[in-house]
């Protein structure tokens, strides 16, 4: 019974927070803030999912991960500019097509750059945590300067496609359409990753490798090849998250990814390193906490996620859903 309670308790954290907020905030605001929190969580999940697998599989902490978020956002801007006819018109299908092209471009470019980054930078520092931190942080600094060279130092505004803007009224609560789109994309990515991990042999290898990399090699599989694939998927997802976040904020800056990386790290720590499900729950918790606390006590909202992380770590030092390493 004790074991089952231990397993059940982390799963109850998210619904407990959502339900606890309801009587404090009131139904209408609660609905708006909950959707906003879940949508923010879905976008953060896209940014965090790859990093948790990268760390889980190879114990590589890529501090340059934020650069791929920024890269995705800039690629989105670059692709949407010539597609302005599609993205600024009032046709739902053309808006969707422009959005899809921007997402696809960010996915492909971030993934391709991620492949090159793994080959040139990360490959030389496997098994050397301190060098990983130094080298990937160096990569982040270089990338930020490259963004300034290529797109300039100033914030670039970005406008949501008109049919993605506006709200849907549910009772007296106005739910932003774009947040629903972001939520759907994040949950779609989670479903796709879950299917990949649970229904394919590659996914089985990734799950096994996260738990015991050495034993996967003993069974005859080249884990480094597997890792390259995971690294590409992780950076591609980060880039995709970058586009969606940039359109949500309607602004891109060279520091976008670095700012988001702090939240990504909090998500990984809360969720448990190496766990995709943990990343989703961690991202949703961060999104909801930001929105609820931002509404109830704006002055402490900046520190609310740090406080959340501290409380969870005091309770479960390995995070909510850690992957048992052997």
């Amino acid at each position: 019974m004790r074991v089952s309670l231990e397993n059940l308790a982390p799963k109850l954290v998210l619904p407990a927070i959502v339900l606890a907020a309801l009587p404090i905030i009131g139904v209408s605001n609660w609905l708006v803030l909950t959707v906003a929190g879940l949508a923010m969580g879905a976008m953060l999940f896209l940014m965090a999912a790859g990093l948790t697998l990268i760390f889980g599989l190879m114990d590589v902490m890529n501090f340059a991960h934020g650069a791929f978020i920024t890269l995705g956002a800039y690629i989105g801007i670059t692709v949407l500019a010539p597609l302005a006819g599609w993205s600024t018109g009032h046709s739902w299908t053309l808006n969707l097509a422009a959005f899809a092209v921007a997402l696809l471009a960010a996915l492909v470019v971030s993934g391709a750059v991620g492949w090159g980054f793994e080959r040139l930078i990360v490959r030389g520092v496997y098994g050397a945590p301190l060098r990983q931190i130094l080298v990937t942080t160096g990569g982040l600094i270089v990338a930020q300067q490259l963004f300034i060279v290529l797109w300039g130092p100033n914030a670039i505004p970005l406008v949501k496609p008109p049919t993605f803007s506006g709200s849907i009224l549910i009772g007296s609560a106005a739910i932003e359409k774009y947040r629903l789109i972001a939520l759907a994309l994040g949950m779609g990515a989670f479903a796709a990753l879950t299917l990949l991990l649970n229904r394919t042999r590659i996914g089985l290898l990734v799950r096994a490798g996260v738990e015991n990399r050495e034993m996967v090699e003993v069974l005859g599989y080249r884990v480094r090849r597997l890792f390259i694939g995971v690294f590409i998927i992780g950076t591609a997802l980060a880039g995709t998250g970058g586009v969606i976040w940039a359109l949500y904020q309607e602004l891109v800056t060279p520091q976008l990814g670095t700012e988001m990386f702090v939240l990504v790290l909090i998500i990984l720590i809360i969720g448990g390193l190496g766990s995709i499900g943990g990343s989703l729950i961690g991202a949703m918790l961060v999104g909801l906490t930001t929105n609820y606390v931002g509404f109830l006590a704006p002055t402490i909202s900046l520190g609310s996620n740090i406080l959340l992380m501290v409380l969870i770590l005091l309770w479960r030092p390995q995070g909510l859903f850690p992957v048992a390493k052997s």
């Binding site: 042999r201 089985l204 290898l205 799950r207 096994a208 738990e211 015991n212 050495e214 034993m215 996967v216 090699e217 003993v218 069974l219 005859g220 599989y221 080249r222 884990v223 992957v323 048992a324 052997s326």
Partner: protein
Amino acid sequence: MSEVLLELRGVETRVGRYQILHGVDFAARRGRVTMLLGRNGAGKTTTLRTIMGLWRAGAGSITFAGRRIEALGTPEIARLGIAYVPETMGIFSQLTVRENLLLATGRDGLASDRLDRLFALFPALRERYSVPAGVLSGGQKQMLAIGRAIIEPRSLLVVDEPTKGLAPHVIEVLIEVFRRLKQSETTILLVEQNFRMAVSVGDDVAVMDDGRIVHAGSMADLAADEALQHRLLGLSLAVHQ
């Protein structure tokens, strides 16, 4: 005299700053069970890990089926047909029993005839086929670890202390399994401290001390010579079980 399948010549291995193996020489012959015995810290596990490429041999040669393997990576060594069961068993606790077995198969997956053969050896695995391996008992985990190593035909089975920490009735099951494997002429290299297991299944024996082979011969001869056991192992095998 059967053909040599695995041969180590002058193998030296360092782990960090420490030199563990100081020139290991021994051979495992095809179709036979070779026991690798020795006191704790003698270098038995290091020898097995060096064979599998998990730790690199700094000097010497390792030849498997006529091919030098000391410079190969672990996946390449495994693909030559060597299955390894580490002392820690290497079970993926968050994967099901089925998924653990599936990882050890080729593209064709889990063939039903092989599964039937495996379940005949380890009926408990059939009952727990769909549960996460982490909830298995210690004995069942060892059965899964060995089952995973033999689910597909392998040229050589390398097993590190399979009976360590297990209940006597589970050890009896494992002894029976190794006897059956022996009958099927599987070549096995086995590190074991349990006397009954060693005597029941061992054909040949190599005894290690301080990173070297100090004795090689037949298991039956060592089992019959208590003075030799005392000299090599510091105690009688009969009390070391």
